[in-house]
């Protein structure tokens, strides 16, 4: 793949990891750009697609961690955003045909509920949820990527699920989590 194709191929994945970690479009935009600027600067050569995927995931995780750490915003930004986003009552202004991730999510109450619950998790918990459920990575793969023991990842993922479960009151959402 040419570098241009690589950028297009992994843009969505990188952006989603950044959004999963930070919870907001603005922060995800910053991290997305940082990741791909690093790619453009370093120009790594990938032997295979799995290699490229792992590289982008790792750099996205590193960039988002640095971003959250440097501004002391481990969960603060998420709490602010949560306060703003409560109940989907925020006025939506469409500047163009592009709808922000938050706007799309809050158009559906079920997704909004899940999103609010995710924002209450730690960035690490959200990352594990994302890598496991969306990227379909196995515990061992996640552990290797993040340089952690499998047992640690397993416990942390279990804890994140448990925290999500503890936040919801409606039976519908609980049913969703029990599955």
């Amino acid at each position: 793949m040419t570098p241009e194709v690589i950028i297009r191929t992994y843009s969505d994945m990188v952006y989603r990891i950044a959004f999963a970690r930070t919870g907001t479009k603005a922060d995800a935009d910053d991290i997305y750009q940082e990741v791909f600027l690093r790619y453009i600067r370093k120009q790594p050569v990938f032997q295979e697609e799995e290699h490229a995927k792992a590289w982008f995931i790792k750099v996205a995780v590193n960039c988002s961690r640095k971003f959250l750490g440097s501004r002391g915003r481990k969960n603060e930004v998420c709490e602010e955003h949560l306060a703003e986003s409560g109940g989907g009552e925020k006025e939506t202004v469409f500047r163009s045909t592009y709808r922000t991730p938050e706007e799309k999510i809050f158009a559906d109450e079920r997704k909004a509920e899940l999103y609010r619950g995710l924002l209450k998790l730690s960035p690490n918990g959200r990352l594990l949820i994302h890598l496991f459920y969306f990227e379909g990575m196995k515990i061992g793969e996640i552990a290797k990527l993040l340089h952690r023991k499998e047992g640690t990842v397993r416990v942390q993922l279990t804890r994140a699920r448990g925290e999500l479960r503890g936040q919801f009151e409606t039976d519908g959402v609980l049913e969703m989590l029990r599955a």
Binding site: E4, S11, Y15, F19, A54, N62, Y133, Q156, M176
Partner: protein, 295 residues
């Protein structure tokens, strides 16, 4: 269901097309400008190589040698064969470069750049009696604490099987003490490494050794080690901290943790903490009563 709902949620998330296109254009522009910086890097490498061949106590690459020397607190060192290595710790380091630093004992450091932008140092720390290979993964985003734990956990795991080897421990302490004494300043990595090494020295000096199980490699990205696991004879156990464990340990000198078995012998067990690191990193002496496991 969680999987499906989460996927539906995240499928709504993506970058603006304009941002992606801007990045693609930047990549195209970057390719055209890259040729000239590469030429300069090669010229610098050739120059360094010529200087080394000339002999004498020469620092072939000031930046990286300085960073590595700082890392281990070695002042009077000779760096050999750094060749194309450039920039500071963790950046733009050529894969496979091998640096030999000497300060009494030899400290051989091989620099390996991982494919995920991390820099991996394989360190051969030689004494008159033994050689310790130490490797850890750090990148420019890691903090002081990350560095400390990387070193600590690697050293700890590496020497755990030789805890009762007094001569080995003494030699290791001597080597690390040299590093500790010479490291000064506020450099992030230096401080992190000092902490990691200090923790290791304290552990060995105080004779805190559990020859039975390995100390858990704590995830240094967490604020504490709650939920971390350790293995004992092939079975996994997870540590559950009591809420005020730090205060309790400081006041009483000991704390009892609950340990839940993930496999092997089911149930919960008590583990006593008899040591607490004053640097306030999550560290404890796992003086556990193994008789409760039916030994």
């Amino acid at each position: 269901m969680l999987e499906q709902d989460y996927k539906e949620l995240m499928n709504e998330v993506g970058p603006e097309e304009a941002m992606v296109e801007a990045m693609v254009e930047r990549q195209k522009a970057g390719r055209r400008a890259a040729f000239f910086p590469r030429m300069m890097k090669t010229a610098a490498a050739v120059l360094c190589g010529l200087v080394v061949l000339a002999g004498g106590a020469v620092v072939a690459d000031a930046a990286t040698d300085g960073a590595v020397r700082k890392l281990f607190g070695l002042k009077d060192s000779v760096a050999i064969g750094t060749g194309g290595v450039e920039a500071s710790f963790g950046e733009d380091v050529e894969d496979g470069e091998y640096i030999r630093l000497t300060d009494g004992d030899e400290l051989n450091v091989k620099v390996v750049v991982g494919d995920d932008e991390t820099t991996y140092f394989v360190c051969h720390l030689s004494s008159t009696k033994t050689t310790l290979q130490m490797g850890f993964v750090l990148d420019e985003d890691d903090t002081e604490e990350d560095c400390a734990w990387a070193i600590y956990s690697f050293l700890h795991n590496h020497v755990s099987s030789r805890r009762n080897d007094t001569e080995f421990c003494k030699s290791l302490i001597v080597d690390l003490e040299i590093c500790k004494e010479q490291i000064t300043g506020e450099d992030l990595f230096r401080n992190g490494c000092i902490m990691g090494i200090q923790m290791m020295i304290d552990d060995l000096s105080a004779g805190k050794a559990t020859e039975i199980c390995s100390i858990p490699v704590l995830d240094y990205h967490d604020e504490d080690g709650d939920g971390d696991m350790f293995e004992y004879k092939g079975d996994s156990y997870v540590v559950i901290y009591p809420e005020d464990w730090k205060k309790e340990t400081e006041e009483n000198g000991t704390t009892e943790f609950v340990v839940e078995a993930q496999g092997g012998i089911p149930g919960t067990y008590l583990m006593k903490v008899t040591g607490y690191n004053p640097l306030e990193y999550t560290y404890f002496d796992m003086s556990m009563d193994y008789s409760q496991f039916g030994e």
